[in-house]
Symmetry: none
Amino acid sequence: MPDDFANSASNPEDASATQHFCAKRQQVLRGAEAVFLEHGYEGASMSQIAQRAKVSKGTLYNHFENKADLFAALIDELSRLKLATMFERISTPEGNCAETLVTAAAEFITILISPSPVGMYRIIVSEAPKFPHLADIFWRYGSGIVLRNMSAWLENESKKGNLAIDDPVFAAEQFFALCQTRIIQRRRLELPVDCSKAAIQEVARKTGDAFLKIYGPVQS
Amino acid sequence: MPDDFANSASNPEDASATQHFCAKRQQVLRGAEAVFLEHGYEGASMSQIAQRAKVSKGTLYNHFENKADLFAALIDELSRLKLATMFERISTPEGNCAETLVTAAAEFITILISPSPVGMYRIIVSEAPKFPHLADIFWRYGSGIVLRNMSAWLENESKKGNLAIDDPVFAAEQFFALCQTRIIQRRRLELPVDCSKAAIQEVARKTGDAFLKIYGPVQS
Amino acid sequence: MPDDFANSASNPEDASATQHFCAKRQQVLRGAEAVFLEHGYEGASMSQIAQRAKVSKGTLYNHFENKADLFAALIDELSRLKLATMFERISTPEGNCAETLVTAAAEFITILISPSPVGMYRIIVSEAPKFPHLADIFWRYGSGIVLRNMSAWLENESKKGNLAIDDPVFAAEQFFALCQTRIIQRRRLELPVDCSKAAIQEVARKTGDAFLKIYGPVQS
Amino acid sequence: MPDDFANSASNPEDASATQHFCAKRQQVLRGAEAVFLEHGYEGASMSQIAQRAKVSKGTLYNHFENKADLFAALIDELSRLKLATMFERISTPEGNCAETLVTAAAEFITILISPSPVGMYRIIVSEAPKFPHLADIFWRYGSGIVLRNMSAWLENESKKGNLAIDDPVFAAEQFFALCQTRIIQRRRLELPVDCSKAAIQEVARKTGDAFLKIYGPVQS
DNA sequence: TATGAATGAGCGTTCATTCAT
DNA sequence: CATGAATGAACGCTCATTCAT
């Protein structure tokens, strides 16, 4: 939320993110969110969206040029606000290193298997060839944020001698790759998988353990 | 093609995979493959498919009940034949353990970023809520095969003392999660990423190294 | 049209009959009337109707849910307005009894062999298994009206001693069955038949004579 | 049945009625009967007919030029065989005059409300504008037969002094018009109506009574 | 002859988009 | 700015009919 304002203030080029705070526009976006995430881009119809948003079909076109534009605006907004906000909460760069890794892993998994990010991932992956710009935004405000935070933290821990990392960016990517073991991957495919807190905690712990073994300082 | 016969011979239960060798049916499937993988399920139209397959629209319906059925048959065929064949080639269960890991990682990455598997992943992820059965097949004949092979091999290496693994299934999943670091993940989102052989080799090497650090035998 | 208001005023419950006076809706209904009565329900196509109504195909669906709904609305409207109006004009409950019978018979025949009622009869008979509700409406606002009027009149004449009828409802039904002798029956089958005024008058006269012989007061 | 052979022998012009006694052809006609009478001419599809007849679609076209020709052949056959046979059974030209009228009326009603004649009536009425020839055949071999028989019988009874009829053809038509009172008329519209034997008997009796009152000899 | 795959026109319906109100 | 009727192209699908086997 603070990032939203900060962002629009410091990045004057993307007027698109702040455009109007018009209530009708928000209504439309909420309808679009519900319908797009449920049915995909091609599967969603402007009539459905209008109905769900409780506005007329014409109103859609007063605020957005066409279906593609509405979709882009939605993904943009969801990435910058919803996703970014979720991810900002993750890194807690103080205290015990091993515990932090496990906590961060658990939080990352928990966020990524919740309905909205799963829906966003699905639609963005499937529309990536048609809307590469959106995949870019999704990445920058989604995984990107957390990757940047994480790599900075890793670098710091490395300096403190808690970890031995030469390429913190790649290490961060590996960490998040490991986080996706089992639960996230299967959830995205709607495969049956235990998503309980305990199951998440177990994957998180194994992820932390593994990461420490890869990058833990050599003990003599 | 030879694999096709092998497959149908060893799995006599899945008549669906071999159904007809009717040429027109194959034509339709190839048209469907091109159009579905390019435009997604909803984005593909039966007319396009007929055109691409160079058959009439009616012919589509002589071989498949409806769009969903054609789609299911296509994914089924692609998973069982194309994907499975690709993945069967991976495991090389002899020789040096560290080298095998790197080689397998490189092959896995190479396969997963090639156009067809990327397209399949996109369409299956996006249609998972509507076609959960297909995600299941895709998993079983895609990652599933390689996971099973890999976990068996890991168990074996563990017995030989080359690795120290207590949960080989989870370890295999972690290995493939690590393989997806950077290249695969970005490729699926159509993000700019270096897909050169060298880049793949680097990720593969780092993946092998990391895995060995996690599960390598404790050297005293 | 004036009858329309009368109708909607006296039957405040059937909002369906008066729904919109939207011009386009009327255009659609007139196109539907032309095409349905000419080609039957299954034989009529929505494209034809749109063309005849000089509207786009989409407009059809802005006013009616689907083909069946449009058909039902048309039959409903035709029965309540056109048919009912025609039949309301029949009964002339004053003057000489024998003459009234002949006049009513002639009017009834004349109405029932005119194009619209013949077309309606054909389509309703043929679609009765699929749209029983429409046959019911057609009967209630078609023959039903005239049957009710006629049986009331017969009862009255009976009381006056001009006729000797114990079951006026059945007698009315017999009267209209007799009216259908030759001309109406053949017309509905498109068989060659003399439909001249003279021919109608002759059947009407014979019908009146016959009815009087059946129900005329016993002359001592 | 005897009429069939007699007919085809004495009327060498209508080869169409006898064409083949080929079993396949009969199979096709039985399938066509089931489907046409259930769904109407436009509502029936050649595929349905082939399926119901348990032959291939191609076979339909080996025996009949097209859909219209198959339909015409079916109606022709049904009229000449089924309908005619049913109606031949009616007239019992001996014994008491009044009783004969009531019996004939009851038989006529019973036949006309049975499924096949109702279905035929529906489809022929609705397709009369498109297939006037079929309505003609239906009339000649349906009501026509019984009308001819009845008018001959009426003329005879008239000569015997049991009835006083100057136009026996018209009288016969009136008799059958009266027979259609209530039950037949409503049945054709699928309106709720009591079709029990008792109900039929009552209408038949009233019809006989009425007819006798119209044409009974003047009692002095 | 009997078959059923192939055809492409046409079906009922929905779509994204426009525009007069 | 909000509306929702109007549009016609395109959708998934079925049709009557043909023809190689």
